[in-house]
């Protein structure tokens, strides 16, 4: 089952309220996305931890309804 980009963005922002999120539908099939997430909450965290925070915001959908979400995470530059 596919998920739309608006839902993905909403879930990420619910979990990480300050996040700047941009989502690209890579194949136009509603199933393969790339997301760039920038959030102050990522400061001092490893990449694995940053991605885990995004997955947590997606509440179990990653790997289920959401098949492919290429993630790029970073903290905002000062």
């Amino acid at each position: 089952m596919a998920m739309d980009a608006v839902t993905i963005e909403r879930l990420i922002k619910e979990g990480l309220p300050d996040a700047q999120v941009s989502i690209e539908d890579l194949r136009g099939d509603g199933d393969h996305y790339a997301a760039t997430v920038v959030s102050g909450a990522f400061r001092g965290k490893s990449r694995v931890q940053q991605h885990q925070m995004v997955y947590q915001a997606l509440r179990g959908r990653m790997g289920n309804e959401l098949h492919a979400l290429a993630l790029q995470t970073s903290a905002p530059e000062d």
Binding site: R47, V48, H51, G60, M62, N64, Q72
Partner: protein
Amino acid sequence: MDTTTHDRIRQQVTDNSVVLFMKGTPVFPQCGFSATVVQILSHIGVKFKGVDVLADSSVREGIKEFSAWPTIPQLYVKGEFIGGCDIIREMFETGELQQMFEEKGVPVRA
């Protein structure tokens, strides 16, 4: 996840320096993301053990819980979870991946 599965995964990542939990085998990956990581590891000349999660549904679900990571592939080096496809690709592009292997004492092709 039952304790047997947990212990089995723990054993695999302890007994082998570099373990890739993947869909399919290193020779025949069954998923593009797994194939990407296999290509990167082969490219930098790191020997690894591939664990095909499609061959064992308890490991397929168990590894997600074990790593708190929802997707396959997953790379372990010296017992430590390094990341999935995106992170490995990003680390490879910046050179951090090769550096990490060297720091952990895993031989890479010069």
